[in-house]
């Protein structure tokens, strides 16, 4: 058995193409996402035009100045500023005339301007309130992010990339490898020896579990040491959860290989399962934004409880016990996927 495991690991290590998809591909994701700065709000260039002496102008000047991302330039000529807006040299033009405030903005830059217009409205409201003599508003609103303030999008994303990478490599890798073994009649050749087929398959599974641990460690190392991601909770449980859930993905790989006539078809089936799951289960964004029916389906995909569980630990810093519902779901999936694989993949029919 030791020889068999060693040989299986050797085969995996020497299959450079499979190794690329398992190791380099998710690391590329971790690097690309690490290079984006998701926390930065884009700068808004504002031209402020009007009677500098008027109290409204003064109040606007103070209000706009209090927002960090606004770059305010005071201009004397409305016509020149309108031209600058047309040319794209400025994003927003605010003209103060008496007690009226006119806002002109470039519609093409939708996201920036949504933010800018809302902020400007707030400032106008505050000016109005002050003019009406209200200094202490009756209702105050204090907004704070739901997640702890020091959790960045990248911190949220990184455990997702680990789960995605492992899922992808295991489903596709296992399906293609087994399908190739069958096409080359290696499974049949094994069947002609006294070796029990289950031992051969176990060695394959074992080698891939080891690969997935290396893969996870590599993605985490790039995220943490290169891009400064901060993970909470126990790293050990993160690995345990990913490795446990990997059994599901390997079973799915076997099932796909059982259905496919050749390695190309196996790759196609495996990708058709892995790709939608990668996006729908919330690797890149929370699933709350999906339509209700889709959300309901997504709940029952095996990647979803894995992502939830590892984020509970690594993002929210909860103990493993907090993820008991997700662990129960994963256990059910391990059993179910084994039964499915057992039904769809028959060693003897190889």
């Amino acid at each position: 058995m030791k020889k068999l495991f060693g040989a299986s690991a050797k085969m995996l290590y020497r299959d450079k193409q499979a190794l690329f998809w398992a190791l380099a591909f998710p690391v590329i994701f971790a690097v690309v996402f690490g290079l984006f700065d998701f926390e930065q709000t884009p700068e808004v260039k504002i031209d402020l035009v009007g009677e500098t002496a008027s109290p409204v102008y003064g109040a606007m000047e103070v209000g706009l100045g209090s927002i960090d991302t606004f770059v305010v330039t005071e201009r004397g000529d409305l016509g020149a500023s309108t031209t600058r807006l047309d040319d794209g040299d400025t994003d927003v033009v605010i003209a103060v005339q008496g007690s009226g405030v006119e806002v002109a903005y470039n519609e093409t830059n939708f996201q920036t301007n949504q933010f800018a217009i809302t902020a400007i409205e707030r400032i106008v409201d505050r000016v109005n309130l002050a003019a009406a003599g209200v200094t202490e508003p009756t209702v105050t609103l204090e907004a704070s992010g739901v997640a702890a303030s020091d959790v960045s999008y990248y911190d949220f994303l990184l455990p997702g990339l680990v789960a995605m990478g492992v899922m992808n490599a295991s489903i596709v890798g296992m399906a293609v490898a087994i399908s190739r073994f069958r096409e080359q009649k290696i499974l049949r050749r094994i069947l002609a020896t006294p070796l029990a087929p289950i031992r051969f398959l176990s060695a394959q599974v074992g080698a891939r579990l080891v690969l997935s641990v290396i893969q996870s460690a590599l993605i985490l190392a790039v995220g943490i040491f290169v891009f400064g991601a901060e993970l909470q909770g126990s790293l050990l449980w993160l690995f345990v959860l990913v490795t446990f859930a990997n059994l599901i993905f390997l079973n799915i790989g076997f099932a796909a290989a059982g259905r496919a006539k050749n390695p190309d078809a196996a790759a196609g089936i495996a990708n058709a399962i892995a790709l939608p799951m990668m996006f729908l289960s919330g690797t890149f964004f929370p699933t709350e934004t999906l339509p209700t029916i889709v959300q309901w389906i997504v709940k029952f995909l095996p990647l979803t409880p894995l992502l939830e569980a590892i984020r509970l630990i690594s993002v929210e810093g909860e103990p493993i016990t907090a993820a008991s519902t997700q662990i129960a779901a994963l256990t059910a999936w391990v059993v179910a996927s084994y039964l499915i694989a057992n039904r769809m993949f028959r060693f003897e029919e190889a």
Binding site: A7, K10, R14, Q184, I186, R189, A192, T193, P194
Partner: protein
């Protein structure tokens, strides 16, 4: 035949074997149709037949790879189904066009397969048998067709089996590589004393290598005997071709002893071809007749019939159809 090489002990027993597959149209397809035969220890036993005749299916049932629909097979007294694991330790199996792990070296593959058995031969000894010792660190993909085929035979021998099954061992090889493989198979049988059960659709291969040949077609054994025995069953076991510039009457030729038929020949420089029962009876009579009748015989060739002719006479079809 070598009387000492072949014993009376039965190595492989196949009794009333039937294998049915569901056919695409919903019916059943009988791939093996009530087949029975014995292979003796020390023998090279061949299955000769066209593709789809049921050769491979029969072999795979004996090897324990496929369960039979009905009937019974055993190797060295171990039932192919009930005593499968005991049997597998004593047989070697080479599958038709099967590859080995593409990312392992020859040495690693032999080590790995050896670990599946109760006993195993060292890789160097195995590779030495087939002259591949210097390739022991190579991958299978880097071997030539003949080398890969030799390796697949030696890989089937890691457990030093008593009975070796070879499924179309020379298909796809060039004539030189095929002859090399024949030498190897002969060595394994004659020198190492292993019983060999093989399939082929090359009649020449069956004739050269096999002590006995079962001609199989459409799932049934049509004839089973030593190659020469099969040929001698034919009404015309030899052909005598000759060239002449004299005018001949075909009926005079037909009247010669043992002549079954007379065919005018267009190719190869010959004029007529006589199908005869025994060349040793007909040839002297033919030469005497030619002398007496002043027939100028420029060239004579005696060709024995082949298993191809046997197949043709048994099934009405050529092997290559």
């Amino acid at each position: 035949m070598n009387a000492e090489r072949i014993t009376s002990e039965v190595a492989v027993e196949v009794h009333d074997l039937v294998k049915e597959f569901p056919s695409p149209d919903g019916g059943t397809l009988t791939a093996v149709d009530h087949v029975s035969f014995d292979v003796h220890r020390g023998e090279v036993f061949g299955f000769l037949g066209p593709n789809g005749a049921g050769k491979t299916t029969t072999l795979e049932i004996v090897e324990g790879l496929t369960p039979p629909t009905s009937g019974r097979t055993s190797v060295l007294g171990s039932d192919s189904v009930a005593d499968r694991d005991a049997m597998k330790n004593r047989i070697g199996v080479q599958l038709q066009s099967s590859a080995y792990f593409q990312y392992l070296t020859l040495e690693e593959i032999l080590n790995l397969f050896g670990s599946f058995y109760e006993r195993a031969l060292p890789p160097e000894e195995l590779l030495d048998k087939v002259g591949l010792v210097d390739k022991r660190k190579s991958l299978v993909g880097h071997l030539s067709g003949g080398q890969a085929q030799r390796f697949s035979i030696v890989a089937a021998m890691v457990n030093d089996p008593d009975v070796l099954f070879l499924d179309e061992p020379t298909t796809g090889l060039d004539p030189q590589a095929r002859r090399n493989l024949w030498d190897l198979i002969e060595h394994i049988n004659h020198v190492e004393g292993k019983t060999i059960v093989m399939t082929t659709h090359y009649m020449e291969e069956a004739q050269v290598l096999c002590d006995r040949v079962a001609i199989i077609d459409r799932g049934k054994i049509q004839a089973l005997d030593a190659p020469l025995g099969l040929i001698h069953q034919l009404p015309a076991a030899y052909r005598i071709a000759f060239a002449t510039s004299s005018d001949l009457n075909e009926n005079d030729l037909k009247a010669l002893p043992g002549v079954e038929s007379v065919t005018p020949v267009v190719l190869g420089g010959f004029t007529f071809e006589l199908a005869v029962a025994r060349a040793s009876d007909t040839l002297p009579a033919f030469l005497d007749w030619a002398k007496e009748n002043d027939v100028q015989v420029d060239d004579v060739q005696v060709v024995p019939a082949t298993l191809e002719d046997v197949f043709l006479s048994l099934t009405g079809r050529s092997l290559r159809e």
